[in-house]
C-alpha cells in the first residue's frame, strides 16, 4: 500500500513540475506595458477577460486568415484583427533600442509555435517589426 502511495505522490509531483515548466512567453514591449497598467487586452463582448484570452490563443490563426481574405479580396480594412497590430504590441526592444523581429527565437510568436511544433509562415512575407514611422 505504501509503495502505491509513493508512486501516486511522485506522479503528482512530476505533474506539478511539468506545470511549473509552462512559462509565460515574452509578451513584448507594448503588451507588457498594457498588462502592467491593468488593461484587459483582447477582451470580447459577453466573455470574461480570461476566456477572451483563451479564445485569442486558440483561435488567432482562424481569426487572422478570415480577416486576411476579407481584406485582400473585398477591401475590408480596419477593425480589431490586423496582423500589423499584433506585431506592434508583441515585439520587444533590444539593448540598443531596436526592435527584435517578433518571429526570432524566444520572441512572442516563436515561443509557443516552437513548443507546439507548428511552423509560422506569416513572416516570410509580412513585416516582423512595427512600421518605421512608429
Amino acid at each position: 500500500m505504501s509503495r502505491l502511495l509513493i508512486v501516486f505522490l511522485s506522479v503528482m509531483l512530476s505533474s506539478v513540475v511539468a506545470q511549473a515548466d509552462h512559462h509565460i512567453p515574452n509578451l513584448g514591449e507594448k503588451a507588457t506595458e498594457f498588462k502592467d497598467e491593468g488593461k484587459e487586452a483582447h477582451k470580447r463582448d459577453g466573455m470574461s477577460h480570461a476566456a477572451s484570452l483563451i479564445l485569442q490563443r486558440k483561435m488567432h490563426p482562424e481569426l487572422l486568415s478570415h480577416k486576411r481574405d476579407k481584406t485582400l479580396r473585398q477591401g475590408v480594412r480596419g477593425g480589431v484583427i490586423q496582423l500589423n497590430k499584433c506585431v506592434e504590441c508583441h515585439t520587444s526592444v533590444d539593448k540598443n533600442g531596436e526592435f527584435i523581429p517578433v518571429n526570432a527565437p524566444d520572441q512572442f510568436c516563436s515561443t509557443c509555435h516552437k513548443k507546439v511544433g507548428t511552423s509560422l509562415d506569416c513572416f516570410s512575407c509580412h513585416r516582423t517589426t512595427p512600421a518605421e514611422e512608429l
Binding site: R77, G79, V80, H126, R127
Partner: protein, 244 residues
C-alpha cells in the same frame, strides 16, 4: 407557494427590464466605443482606372513614377537578383513608329484588365480581380508557378527570387510569390490616389472611377482619343493611354 397577482407581476417585470436595459446599454456603449470599425466591402459600382497622356508625360515624369512606386512598395533593391529576376512593377517603355520615327515614352504597369488572362490561368485562384476592377495576387495562395507571368501580355508581373526582410507594413512581399502593381490598393481604399499618380504634378496621369460620370477621368475619356495597349485582345484594360 405564494400566488403572484397581476400588479406584482407587472412591477417585477418592469423593474427587471429597466435594470437589464440600464446595465446592458452601458456595456454596449463602452464596447462599441472601444472597437474600431471595419470598412465595407468594395462593390462593382466603381471601376478604378488610369489615363496616361504620353504627350504631356516627360521622361523625368516616368522616372518619378517609377521611384515613387519603389518607395511606396519597397521593391527594386533585391541584392541577389540579376537581370530579368529584378522586380519591375512599373516600367519605362519607349515606342517608335517605324513609318514616322516618332518616339513616345510610356509608363507600363499592370493594366488591370476587366478580363485578366492572369486570373484565367491561375491554378490556385491566387491571381484575382477585386469587385472594383483592381487585379491582385493573393500571396497566401500563390504557389509561385508563374503561369500568370506567361499569360500577361504586358509583362507586368515579377517573381521574388530571394528572401526579403523589412517589407513595408502595407505591402507584404516574399520569396516564391508573384507580384505586380496593386494600383496602390491600400491608398485607394483610404480614398487617396496611387503613389505614381501623386508623383506627377501635371495632369499627364489621371486616376479615378471610370464609371462615375462626374469624375475627371470619365469626362476626359469622353473628350480625348485614347487607346488600350493590345486592344485587339479585348481585355478592356483599366489603364488607358492617349497620344500613342
Amino acid at each position: 407557494m405564494k400566488e403572484l397577482n397581476r400588479r406584482d407581476f407587472i412591477k417585477t417585470t418592469t423593474a427587471t427590464t429597466a435594470g437589464v436595459a440600464t446595465i446592458a446599454s452601458g456595456i454596449t456603449l463602452t464596447t462599441y466605443a472601444a472597437l474600431p470599425k471595419e470598412s465595407n466591402p468594395v462593390t462593382n459600382e466603381k471601376r478604378w482606372g488610369m489615363l496616361i497622356d504620353t504627350n504631356k508625360l516627360t521622361e523625368s515624369n516616368i522616372d518619378d513614377m517609377v521611384n515613387a512606386c519603389q518607395e511606396e512598395h519597397g521593391w527594386g533593391d533585391e541584392a541577389h537578383s540579376t537581370g530579368d529576376q529584378k522586380a519591375g512593377w512599373i516600367k519605362k517603355v519607349k515606342v517608335k513608329d517605324k513609318a514616322t520615327e516618332r518616339i513616345s515614352n510610356l509608363a507600363l504597369m499592370c493594366q488591370h484588365c476587366e478580363e485578366p488572362p492572369c486570373v484565367d490561368v491561375c491554378p490556385t485562384n491566387a491571381s484575382m480581380k477585386r469587385e472594383d476592377g483592381i487585379v491582385l495576387v493573393d500571396r497566401h495562395l500563390c504557389i509561385g508557378c508563374r503561369y500568370c507571368m506567361m499569360a500577361c501580355p504586358y509583362d507586368a508581373r515579377s517573381f521574388v527570387h530571394e528572401t526579403l526582410t523589412d517589407q513595408k507594413t502595407h505591402m507584404p512581399r516574399g520569396k516564391g510569390t508573384v507580384e505586380a502593381c496593386t494600383m496602390c490598393v491600400h491608398k485607394v481604399d483610404k480614398g487617396e490616389a496611387p503613389a505614381c499618380v501623386a508623383s506627377v504634378a501635371s495632369d499627364a496621369v489621371i486616376f479615378g472611377d471610370l464609371y462615375d460620370p462626374t469624375s475627371k477621368i470619365n469626362q476626359t475619356l469622353k473628350k480625348v482619343q485614347s487607346t488600350q495597349i493590345r486592344a485587339d485582345l479585348n481585355l478592356n484594360t483599366g489603364v488607358r493611354y492617349s497620344g500613342i
